[in-house]
């Protein structure tokens, strides 16, 4: 082959996205020890922060060492991933407890206000939940969701345009959804019909969405920025939860879209795993040839899945601009589409687990916002946490998992 011949296709030899499923047969007693070690490790850290706020690391060190030994034993006895997780967690907990027990108590009280942290977690997690659901739908159907960032960005801009033109947040959100669908449609044509390399096409759409949204934004609003009097998505208060108790502050009132996101998780999980269309969608992603011979239209199903993922990501973007911030700025998603993709992988392509991952990442953002009491630097560095966690997860330390069998492989009717 000469140097100038077209590049070989990397898609061909890519191993299944995150390794292979390993059937781990574990003695239930060993598994119980492993999980107990995880809980002990968490407890070791927990007792040094409010409301307990022990001022000495000694008990934490004891608990941590017990957890580490338990985890190590369990890992040796067969419960590999949970056991090693407990060991890593115990080490982190001891370090964390050491730092926290030495930290200024007043500042600690300022950072760890659980109710406010929960509220902020929900706020930051909502766009991730929407986009991660979109990612799951697309990847379960066998199409890589690398374009989530671009779809979100488009959703954010179009939501602002819609709300500005119609003076209605609801229409704005719907237009934002269509903005996501529009990007998804282009992606679908390339990824499904033209059988393009999905990683390259997704990257292209992220670049294009960045350019197009910036272009439209500058052309439409110039130097003024987005309008100040945008119609915003209202908050919805739970009836019977007033005042400033723990639940009132944490979940008493949240954006309408946050509630909708939580409902959407259940809905997507139900559709994917309990209905025929969901089964078809997964079949198309797992074994397209088999699905086709069973009479399921592979290409059409994948199209619908990608468009739906665009709608979800568009909702996430609309939440950012019309609910969280009330404005649009260039590149405002700032990597949230990739955190959402991380949540998909972290959650092993399952809506419930992806919700947990999105909440975890939202929580780390919430903590990061408050850590500046201690130092700005620490707060900044904390933003890298979701990405580091995902690195660890895909490296197999958290446990191997498997993406859809035909993920990233274009389907050609035989």
């Amino acid at each position: 082959m000469s140097t100038t011949a077209p590049l070989p296709s990397p898609a061909e030899h890519r191993p299944t996205v995150v390794g292979v499923a390993t059937a781990e047969v574990v003695d239930p007693r060993v598994a119980r020890v492993a999980w107990a070690a995880v809980v002990l490790a968490a407890l070791a850290f927990f007792i040094t922060i409010p409301p307990v706020t022990l001022r000495t690391p000694a008990p934490s060190v004891v608990l941590g060492v017990v957890a580490a030994v338990g985890g190590w034993w369990a890992a040796r006895a067969g419960a590999g991933r949970v056991g090693w997780g407990a060991v890593v967690g115990a080490v982190l907990a001891i370090v964390g407890a050491w730092v926290a027990s030495g930290a200024d108590e007043a500042k600690l009280d300022q950072v760890v206000v659980w109710s406010a942290l929960f509220a902020a977690t929900l706020r930051f997690a909502t766009p991730l939940i929407f986009a991660a659901l979109g990612g799951i739908i697309s990847e379960r159907a066998g199409v890589i969701a690398l374009g989530l960032e671009g779809m979100m960005l488009s959703g954010a801009l179009f939501a602002v345009l819609g709300a500005d033109l119609t003076d209605s947040w609801l229409l704005g959100v719907l237009v934002g959804m269509l903005g996501g669908v529009g990007v998804a449609a282009i992606y679908a044509v390339f990824a499904i019909t033209l059988r393009a390399d999905q990683v390259v096409a997704g990257t292209a759409l992220n670049l294009m969405a960045l350019g197009v949204t910036g272009y439209v934004f500058v052309a439409r609003y110039g130097d003024d920025g987005s309008p100040k009097d945008l119609s915003r998505v209202p908050e919805l208060s739970l009836p019977g939860l007033g005042g400033d108790g723990f639940f009132a502050v944490s979940i008493g009132s949240a954006s309408l879209m946050t509630w909708f996101a939580l409902v959407a998780v259940a809905a997507v999980a139900f559709v994917l795993f309990r209905t025929t269309p969901g089964l078809h969608l997964r079949a198309v992603g797992e074994r397209p040839e088999a699905a086709e011979s069973a009479g399921i239209p592979v290409l059409r199903t994948r199209y619908l899945a990608v468009l739906a993922s665009g709608a979800m990501a568009g909702l996430g973007g609309a939440y950012l601009s019309l609910a969280l911030l009330g404005s649009f700025s260039q590149n405002m998603t700032a990597g949230r589409g990739f955190i959402a993709l991380a949540a998909v992988i972290f959650g092993r392509w399952r809506p419930g687990a992806a919700l947990a991952a999105a909440l975890l990442f939202g929580f780390s953002s919430a903590i990061a916002r408050r850590l500046d009491v201690f130092s700005d630097q620490l707060a900044t560095l904390f933003n890298a946490l979701p990405y580091v966690l995902t690195l660890i997860a895909v490296a197999g330390l958290v446990g191997r998992s498997r993406a859809a069998g035909a993920l990233g492989k274009p389907y050609e009717r035989g």
Partner: protein, 403 residues
């Protein structure tokens, strides 16, 4: 991406002429389509696409190459062309960072992170050791940048080799880790924030002794630095590596078929790590020459808005993985970025704020079209074959008529 069988058929079973057509034709058609779409975007805002592209061309300084450009215009063009080449040099290296991985069957989407890790390192080393003689200071700083870039990519390579972690995901995550570490280092109160003005989230300035010498133009006004030659050297090294070296042979073998390579005694895991290290070294070199050649200091905003690593993907794809192609594609994107920049684009003709986004759109479309490369390649080839056939019948008819 089409099945390998088809891809191979597209490149081997057709005649050499067909291959030649797609090698030059596909990138040309791709670029044309992208500029066409960009032209429509210009039209939508009520501007004249031709005048705008002319202004971008003038802003890129490429008119310096025309001997009839004279006087003041020539001087301005020279300064703009220096900018274009300054921008093209790291783009070429970042293109190589993608191309090497592609040869090994990997997709390195982490050029951005490798570049940023290296710029941060180059700032650190370059702004330390004041009073060191220039030559060792430059060499040490560049090597430090190259090393951290290689390490950053090597993490992804090692994870891929040991646990099968997909390099697309890991390099994306590493990008963001690099972005946040950079923001941490140079941000307010960060350990590497400058000491003169604590209110600015900006790095300290690289010492004079660590700067790359400028060989064309005014060093005060961002003249062309010798990093340009390092980039050209990088292209040559890439060509030798891929076409003439044992390591390159192994990389290509693993890229084409890891199982067959394993049977032939090549360890795919080791080659994967090696390929990623080389990618990271190229991206690291790009970050180092930008910092030492013209930036000298970076702000946290520079870190967050930079898209240069992703443009490297566009360069590699448009250059179709060949050293010459990557060089030309880097020059094109360097010219486009420079010509549409705030500094060089005539605001009377087109708003530079729009111009920057326009270049992103054009580059995005190029990557998008390239993603469906083989489809387009087929179209170009059949078009070429058809027109060639038509030409042949035409000539035959003429001959018949005259006979």
């Amino acid at each position: 991406m089409l099945p390998a069988r088809l891809a191979r058929a597209a490149t081997t079973t057709r005649g050499l002429a067909g291959r030649g057509v797609s090698r030059v034709g596909v990138p040309l058609v791709t670029t044309f389509l992208a500029f066409l779409a960009g032209g429509l975007a210009i039209l939508v805002t009520g501007n004249d696409p031709f005048a705008t592209y002319k202004a971008i061309f003038d802003g890129s300084g490429l008119s310096w190459l025309f001997p009839w450009t004279g006087g003041d215009t020539r001087e301005i063009a020279a300064s703009s062309l220096q900018q274009t080449l300054i921008a093209a040099a790291p783009l070429a290296l970042l293109g190589l960072a993608v191309a090497v991985a592609y040869r090994a069957g990997l997709f390195n989407i982490g050029g951005q992170g490798q570049y940023l890790a290296s710029s941060s390192m180059a700032i650190w080393v370059g702004s330390s050791f004041h009073g060191m003689p220039a030559l060792p200071h430059v060499v040490i700083t560049v090597l430090a940048g190259v090393a951290i870039g290689a390490l950053w990519a090597g993490i992804a390579g090692a994870l891929h080799a040991t646990s099968g972690a997909n390099e697309v995901i890991t390099t994306i995550m590493l990008n963001w880790v690099a972005i946040w570490i950079g923001s941490y280092l140079f941000g307010l109160g960060g350990p590497l924030q400058n000491t003169e003005d604590r209110s600015l989230p900006v790095s300290p300035e690289v010492a004079q002794s660590a700067r790359l010498p400028v060989f064309w133009g005014d060093p005060e006004l961002q003249g062309l630095h010798i990093g340009f030659f390092l980039a050209i050297l990088g292209l040559v090294v890439y060509w030798v590596l891929i076409a003439r070296s044992r390591a390159g042979y192994e990389i290509r073998a693993v890229g084409l078929n890891p199982e067959a390579a394993r049977t032939a005694g090549i360890s795919p895991g080791r080659v994967t790590v090696k390929a990623m290290l080389i990618c990271g070294a190229f991206a690291g070199l790009a970050g180092a020459i930008d910092v030492l050649g013209w930036e000298y200091r970076i702000s946290t905003t520079d870190i967050t808005v930079s898209q240069i690593g992703f443009l490297g993907i566009a360069v590699a794809l448009l250059g179709r993985g060949s050293a010459v192609g990557i060089g030309i594609a880097a020059l094109l994107f360097g010219a486009l970025t420079t010509g549409a920049s705030q500094r060089n684009l005539d605001p009377e003709i087109f708003d530079p704020a729009l111009g920057t986004n326009l270049t992103l759109i054009i580059q995005g479309i190029i990557v998008l079209v390239a993603s469906a490369d083989i489809v387009l390649g087929g179209a170009v080839r059949s078009l070429a074959a058809r027109s060639f056939g038509r030409l042949r019948t035409l000539v035959a008819r003429r001959r018949e008529a005259s006979a």
